[in-house]
Amino acid sequence: MTQMSMIQAIHSALDALLARDPNVLIFGEDVGYFGGVFRATDGLQAKYGPTRCFDTPLSEGGIVATAIGMGAYGLRPVVEIQFADYILPAYDQLVSEAARLRYRSGGEFWAPITVRAPYGGGIYGGQTHSASPEALFTHVAGLKTIIPATPYDAKGLLIAAIEDDDPVIFLEPKRIYNGPFDGRHDVPAKPWTDEPGSDVPEGYYRVALGSAAIRRAGGAVTVLAYGTMVHVALRAVEETGIDAEVIDLRSLVPLDIETITASVTKTGRCVIVHEATRYGGFGAELSALVQERCFYRLEAPIVRVTGWDTPYPHAFEWDYFPSPARVAKGLRQALEG
């Protein structure tokens, strides 16, 4: 075990698979010689050679189309979209091609690609470097969507994603690349060192796609969160002293529906937290699933704590970002309802 930040853990996952599987290759904008704007591929080109980790033209659609063709040939391409905000030129490729290739060809072709993209706010990135587009992908049949919240999970899930034979959107909460941000922007940022989930094996291991993690067991209310919001939710629970059960979904598709329903069945209350806009967000799906499966156990309306239905506003970062205080309010609302 070694202490790693999330970005180091992601780097370690890529390193491990480049070493292990000659069919894995990495490409994207600035990922080659330079090592990526967030350093996820630092030194990998020097270590494995220019055909295993290389730069691409500034063309997200071209990057993903190329990856799909490589996947159909039999490789396992891992591509980086520099910011999730910029994935939209590749959306047609992901939705019309990657997601449907296996289905429409009767199983003859498939796209075992992994699309990594840093996502989310809290970094003063304005409306072009802060988006949380997960619902655009969870809505599409044939795509898997993964979001880690700790270095350990980031590495294990990324390895599992790359080895998966279906296309996987791997969204990395960039606000917690270097430390577990709990939403308190006015206190000094802390590193991952000695934080839960920062002990990471140096070698190969997998965290199965489709399994949630209970970050805090509790009986009063269930909190469903993922990415940075897991840490914000834990902070809110600590501040309020409410005996909440905090579930880190880790995998939005496939979703660990059993862990969710077991928890809400136990607590009878549910708060859903995400950074993305609320309307039609993944929280809406979670809310519907919980309502459909746990209706007679629910003691109160399901509460959503989310980003507002606006683009991400630069000067109002902390009005937009769901704070521990807003999550705390949501928890009390669920308990009072």
């Binding site: 190329t66 003859e108 072709f109």
Partner: protein
């Protein structure tokens, strides 16, 4: 103020509309044999005249002339002729089947058969074609079972696509034919990726991809060209310029400003402009570009100049936007007739043999169609409904399993 006329907005329009005489006088086609054939591995900068020429081998009398004559054995020519004739017979039968309510949709490739049959025979086993939906002759040149095509058209229990795809949107991996979809251009970049993968592995396989003239306006086309050029991908990127994208003539994609082959120049890719109704020219150009790709000299853009004789699909009536007799006025003739004339001229074919072959193929198609109808036309005997929940993922997730039960098709 300068004394200039006001600006005016140019909206391209075809040269003849319904009721007018067909007019192809704006197209300039060099004579057969006139366009030079540089060495396969020449630098691109030394062949920037080629996109404005026209690679043609077959002369007006059916003679093979000039440097692009691939000198193919008569057996191969007859094989190609058979594939084109079979395609024509199959198209006629399936088009009629649509009118009889046996399927939902059909598209003919009439007039364009050489652009797929010749590459099919020029590529090597293991190469991968990323086709358009007007390339059935690629499959038929490789003896793909007619039964599969019929069953796919009828979406019956024998449909290899399991009832998931519109007619013509085939997939045939073992025949080097990539999965089709109805959206255009979005697989052009897959071909580049596939070719890059082959190079990455040190393989000797190449890819060949097709789009229509209209699709060159899609961003996908540009993206694929950039990647192909940047990584010297062993891929042949083709534009089948059949003059019409539904009702939009090729000028609406910029075809009157320059040739589609000349798009290669901006990317540093060789651009070949080829008579798409000349089986020998299509074969020779494919062979040239394949040789260049296999020699690690990267991608080539080929424009196949041809004409879409039929409507876009069974839902289209081309008499509403182009002269009814425009196909007969098409200056590059018919690919089947031209190859037939050539073979006869070689003493390797005759009108009688041609007629006999056409009859045999008609019977072959009739028998295959009958067998397909017996298995089921659209909606009568589809693949098991429970299969509609398969292949969404490699293994169905809990939603697929729950919804399969909800749909009532669990068993």
């Amino acid at each position: 103020m300068r004394n200039l006329p006001p600006l005016h907005l140019h909206i391209p329009a075809p040269h003849a509309r319904p009721g007018e005489a067909p007019d192809f006088s704006y197209l300039t086609f060099p004579a057969a044999g006139a366009t030079r054939r540089p060495d396969e591995v020449s630098p691109e900068a030394e062949m920037r005249d080629l996109p404005y020429g026209l690679i043609r081998v077959l002369g007006a009398e059916g003679q093979a002339v000039g440097p692009w004559d691939p000198h193919l054995p008569p057996d191969l020519l007859r094989h190609g002729l058979r594939a084109m004739l079979l395609t024509r017979a199959f198209d006629e039968r399936m088009f009629a089947a649509h009118h009889q309510g046996k399927t939902s949709f059909y598209m003919k490739s009439t007039g364009e058969e050489a652009t797929a049959a010749a590459p099919s025979l020029a590529l090597q086993p293991g190469d991968m074609c990323f086709p358009t939906y007007r390339m059935v002759s690629f499959l038929l040149a490789r003896d793909y079972p007619l039964a599969n095509l019929v069953n796919q058209t009828f979406a019956n229990a024998g449909d290899p696509m399991r009832g998931r795809q519109l007619p013509l949107l085939y997939s045939a991996r073992d025949y080097g034919f990539y999965s089709l979809a109805g959206n255009v251009g979005s697989r052009f970049g897959h071909a580049v990726g596939w070719a890059m993968a082959s190079a990455f592995k040190g393989d000797d396989k190449i890819a060949m991809a097709f789009v229509g003239d209209g699709t060159t306006a899609e961003g996908n086309f540009h993206e694929a060209m950039v990647f192909a050029a940047v990584y010297h991908a062993p891929v042949i990127l083709c534009v089948t310029n059949n003059q019409w994208a539904i009702s939009s003539y090729q000028g609406m994609a910029g075809g009157e400003e320059t040739t589609f082959a000349a798009r290669g120049i901006g990317y540093g890719l060789p651009g070949l402009r080829v008579d798409g109704n000349d089986f020998l020219a299509v074969y020779a150009a494919t062979q040239w570009a394949a040789g260049r790709a296999r020699a690690n000299h990267g991608a080539t853009l080929i424009e196949f100049v041809t004409y879409r004789v039929a409507g876009h699909s069974t839902n289209d009536d081309p008499s509403r936007y182009r002269p009814a007799n425009e196909a007969r006025a098409w200056p590059l003739g018919d690919p089947v007739e031209r190859l037939k004339t050539h073979l006869i001229r070689l003493g390797e074919w005759s009108e009688a043999r041609h007629e006999e072959l056409a009859k045999t193929l008609h019977e072959e198609v009739r028998a295959a169609a009958k067998a397909g109808e017996a298995l089921g036309t659209l909606g009568q005997n589809p693949p098991p409904r429970r299969e509609m929940f398969e292949h969404v993922f490699k293994e169905p997730d809990w939603r697929n399993l729950e919804q399969r039960r909800e749909c009532g098709v669990d068993q």
